[in-house]
């Protein structure tokens, strides 16, 4: 029975932040934005591979911060359906991104080299 009526009750109180939570989210975002720019513009970390991995990790964390503090995502809003939609979307995005990059990377790798003939034996 609860399942039928849960969505009727869920909308009564939309999750919304307080001034403090907005400011905390904003502060975290500023830090998580400023550091990657500093890493790349200043070449602080030296190695490009390491820098790329670090700024991707920062982006992932910042997306979660925005989801929690600005979009007010939680597992209970709308009876859990918005979280379900989000999880489904994340799965689709991961498949689309990794699939495309993986397939096309190998396609490029298996192409006959045009300029670099030295590797052909």
């Amino acid at each position: 029975m609860d399942a039928f009526h849960a969505h009727g009750d869920a909308h009564s109180g939309h999750p919304s932040g307080s001034r403090g939570s907005y400011l905390l989210g904003f502060t975290l975002s500023v830090v998580l934005t400023a550091l990657p720019f500093w890493f790349v513009m200043g070449g602080t970390l030296g190695d490009k591979q390491v820098t790329a991995l670090v700024i991707m990790a920062f982006a992932a964390v910042q997306i979660v911060v925005h989801m929690i503090y600005f979009l007010h995502m939680n597992t209970t809003s709308e009876g859990g359906w918005s979280m379900m939609a989000l999880i489904f979307t994340v799965i689709m995005v991961v498949i689309a991104l990794t699939g495309s990059l993986w397939v096309m990377h190998h396609l490029n790798g298996n192409m006959m080299p045009v300029h670099d003939l030295s590797r052909m034996r």
Binding site: A52, A59, F88, T89, L97, L101
Partner: protein, 209 residues
């Protein structure tokens, strides 16, 4: 909670809810809008994947290093981030039912959004002036498609913002207007989330290539 009382006289069991339970007006709007945003997210995922695949194909043309000005991108990013927090303040004022303060924060949000679009357009104009047009290389085609689609979203967000400010000034913070403002809030914050992906994958990673 009454099940199967619909046609007892017929003597046939009914295996579904007969009485339509109440749907308050707009009760499903927020979930519906969230699902729209998720579908929008898939559009951006495809554009990111396209950029990821084609982003290194310069066709002997300009590369990210020749084109991007990271300090300008940093300013642009801060404009969007500031507009996110000011929209949050507008929502807080809305909860206190203060029309004037809500309108003021919305106006500030709009100005930050306008600054973002202005900087982005001037960047595009500068690139095109240097011959880095969308048809120059696959990298530039996918770049303009991805960043342009995001910019177009922000532009429509601004149109929506002005529309809602007019609505609020005319009808006040009615239930319907609050709901609309909450939808735009989700849209606006969502665009900021997409921008995190853009400045990381396109601009910062582009400079590392």
């Amino acid at each position: 909670m009454t099940i199967a009382t619909g046609n007892l006289q017929a003597g046939e069991p009914v295996f579904y809810l007969v009485d339509e339970h109440e749907h308050a007006e707009g009760s499903s709007t927020m979930l519906g809008f969230w699902i729209y945003l998720m579908s929008d997210c898939l559009i951006f995922a495809i554009l990111f994947a396209t950029y990821g695949v084609l982003g290194g194909n310069y066709a002997a043309g300009p590369a990210p290093k020749d084109l991007f000005d990271l300090s300008l991108v940093a300013v642009n990013t801060s404009m969007l981030l500031l507009s996110s927090i000011t929209y949050g303040f507008a929502m807080l004022q809305m909860e206190q039912s203060r029309v004037g303060a809500t309108q003021a924060w919305l106006a500030i949000t709009g100005l930050f959004g306008l600054a973002f679009i202005g900087i982005e357009l001037s960047e595009f104009a500068h690139m095109i002036h240097e011959g880095a047009t969308p048809q120059r290389s696959a990298f530039l085609s996918s770049f303009f498609t991805l960043v342009g689609t995001h910019g177009l979203h922000v532009t429509f967000g601004l149109v929506w913002l002005v529309t809602l400010m007019t609505q609020v000034s005319r009808y006040g913070l009615t239930e319907a207007n609050r709901r609309r403002l909450m939808c735009l809030s989700m849209f606006w914050h969502f665009l900021d989330v997409v921008w995190i992906g853009v400045f990381t994958f396109v601009y910062l990673m582009g400079m590392l290539r």
